[in-house]
């Protein structure tokens, strides 16, 4: 509880959360306005249900993608100096000389940030999904909603762990750049793979994308979310509708085993961070 309260004070008093909320509200408002305009365009026109649903999927995927990117930037800028920054500016000197094992400090900081991050991600997730559901009448089953919500908040938790691990070994700015590039590469490789797969599988691109997925599973989780949202709905979509979504198509949907891998991934990343922090000299 103390770590959560402490992280909350930091995020609010440094005005990170207020600023993020205002800008997020702007993003969500624009998104909702877009959804509303599309929904009104459908009215009074003879449209196929399939076309309606297809547009809803693209909009929803775009909304989820951009909200994930906003959350990713929030994580990067908030936590790129979580360890190294606090060492560099002397905050850690008084903290680590207390009778507390370093791994507890590390995991405490992770838990504190994670709590507020999940809260923010939850707000963003429902702010995207609700307009799509109510204005575009996109069908959502409660179980699907729960599964996709968990997957949606999972990626930020992974990115947070990676960012804190990087912060244990790299200076603040270097870590920010490294994590942003890793996240960007992960997303780009996923999009590139989808585009290449549309014209026939490219082994080299697929292999490269797979390696990046192992390093940073952000894009895979987004693919899985899209897949989960469509799976089992028995939507009246043309056979090629989803595949024609270009970079947002759901080729190579990550398996349950891959989702399981991300759990192991998180545990390993956190363990590595704790180990690295324990061994680190605070000069």
């Amino acid at each position: 509880m103390s770590w959560i309260a402490f992280a909350g004070k930091e995020l609010f008093r440094k005005r990170i959360f207020p600023v993020t909320f205002v800008l997020s509200l702007l993003f969500v408002s624009l998104f909702t306005f877009g959804v509303y305009k599309i929904s009104t365009n459908f009215e009074g026109h003879v449209e196929t249900l399939a076309g309606n649903v297809s547009d809803s999927i693209v909009l929803m995927t775009l909304g989820l993608l951009f909200s994930q990117m906003i959350i990713a930037f929030f994580i990067l800028f908030t936590t790129m100096g979580a360890i190294s920054g606090e060492i560099e500016n002397g905050l850690m000197l008084a903290i680590l000389s207390r009778p507390i094992p370093r791994w507890k400090v590390y995991l405490g900081k992770y838990a504190g940030y994670a709590f507020w991050l999940v809260l923010y991600a939850a707000i963003m997730y429902f702010a995207i999904m609700m307009p799509v559901h109510y204005l575009l009448h996109f069908p959502m089953l409660p179980l699907t909603l729960l599964k996709t919500f968990l997957l949606f908040i999972w990626t930020p938790l992974l990115l947070l762990a990676v960012c804190m691990l990087g912060s244990t070994f790299l200076p603040m700015l270097g870590n920010g750049v490294a994590c942003a590039m890793l996240y960007g590469l992960s997303m780009f490789s996923g999009f590139a793979e989808n585009i290449f797969n549309k014209v026939g599988e490219n082994e080299m691109v697929s292999r490269f994308a797979f390696l990046l997925k192992l390093l940073m599973p952000a894009n895979s989780m987004l693919n899985r979310i899209t897949f989960e949202l469509l799976d089992g709905l028995e939507l009246p979509l043309p056979t090629q509708a989803v595949e024609s979504m270009g970079p947002f198509a759901t080729f190579n949907v990550p398996s349950n085993a891959f989702v399981g891998y991300t759990i192991v991934y998180l545990i390993i990343i956190l363990a590595l961070g704790c180990f690295g922090f324990r061994k680190k000299d605070i000069a």
């Binding site: 103390s2 000197l93 507390i100």
Partner: protein, 321 residues
């Protein structure tokens, strides 16, 4: 009771600086001063003791537990050098946060008794009501006072202060000295890491001198400052020509210098000699020349002179401290 004991504790940075083979013993109830020029390796040594740095070699115990073990730091209060606190918190929130790090629950840190404790340390360290302001609004001196409050918060038995007076004005320095005296009277042990000699001279029982990462000397302050080679003689009946006459009869290694001279024949002589026997010999010569010797006082070395002699009059040469 031994509070801290280190045995050949060493830490070398990639630049080749740090400190090596530092063996020290700190006993309960004393104020121990670690002296040395900037970059001598004082802070490196302290950081190893409080678990911030991992020693390359050697070992040490704090309250009987290996240094680096969090358990060894339960009764420790530490004021780091060049520290910062979370400037988005108030001073009181910083203290509550540190209490949490020391194992107190959130409910305990919010209790009335702990609020009273916070108030008490704020008063002790001269922060008073300003302790409830945001750290962002503090001057450097106030941040230093908050650092002191943080070090004293959990009523530690052993307090390590790394340059505690560095950001304080003369009044603040005086208050810190008073505080150190009070801590000693309460049976606390204080380790003072500083290059401010007046602080050390005023309060320390024992001192150690570190230079270029090496321990040059360690022991009780009076012992460190005692010098057997210089005496001051107050005499009367002194005549200017006596100096030349005496110099012909002095033993090898002896020298006489007149530091004060009055028209009535009284004078103060500064005498260099190897031992007290040589001083006895000089007194006999003076008496034979008709000089009256009123007082013979061994010259106590100043801490500044000792500091300069230990460091050879040079700084550590940019070594990391």
């Amino acid at each position: 009771m031994i509070i801290l004991q280190t045995d050949r504790l060493s830490k070398t940075y990639a630049s080749g600086t740090g400190c090596s083979n530092i063996s020290l013993t700190i006993k309960q109830g004393q104020i121990f001063g670690l002296l040395g020029p900037n970059g001598a390796g004082k802070s490196t040594f302290v950081k190893m003791v409080v678990g911030l740095l991992r020693p390359d070699s050697g070992s040490g115990t704090l309250f009987g537990k290996p240094i680096g073990d969090p358990e060894s730091r339960v009764k420790l209060g530490y004021l780091p050098e060049l520290f910062r606190f979370q400037d988005w918190l108030t001073g009181a929130e910083v203290l509550r946060y540190h209490a949490g790090l020391c194992g107190m629950t959130r409910a305990q840190t919010k209790s009335a008794s702990f609020a009273a404790r916070i108030k008490e340390v704020f008063r002790t360290c001269g922060l008073n009501e300003r302790g409830y302001d945001r750290v962002r609004q503090y001057s450097k001196g106030m941040q230093q006072r908050l650092g002191l409050a943080c070090a004293l918060l959990m009523d530690p038995d052993f307090i390590i202060l790394d340059e505690p007076s560095s950001a304080l004005d003369p009044i603040g320095r005086y208050e810190v000295r008073q505080l150190l005296e009070r801590l000693r009277s309460e049976g606390k042990t204080v380790f003072l890491n500083t290059h401010l000699l007046e602080d050390v001279e005023a309060v320390c029982d024992e001192v150690a001198f570190l230079h270029k990462g090496q321990l040059r000397a360690s022991g009780p302050m009076q012992e460190m400052l005692r010098t057997d080679s210089s005496w001051e003689l107050t005499v009367s009946g002194w005549l200017p020509e006596l100096q030349e006459e005496l110099s012909e009869q002095l033993l090898p290694g002896m020298a006489v210098e007149v530091t004060k001279k009055a028209a009535d024949g009284s004078a103060v002589l500064k005498v260099s000699a190897h031992n007290r026997e040589q001083i006895g010999y000089l007194i006999r010569l003076l008496v034979e020349e008709g000089v009256t010797v009123y007082e013979v006082v061994p010259v106590q070395g100043s801490l500044e002179a000792w500091f300069l002699s230990m460091s050879g009059g040079e700084a550590a040469g940019g070594a990391r401290s």
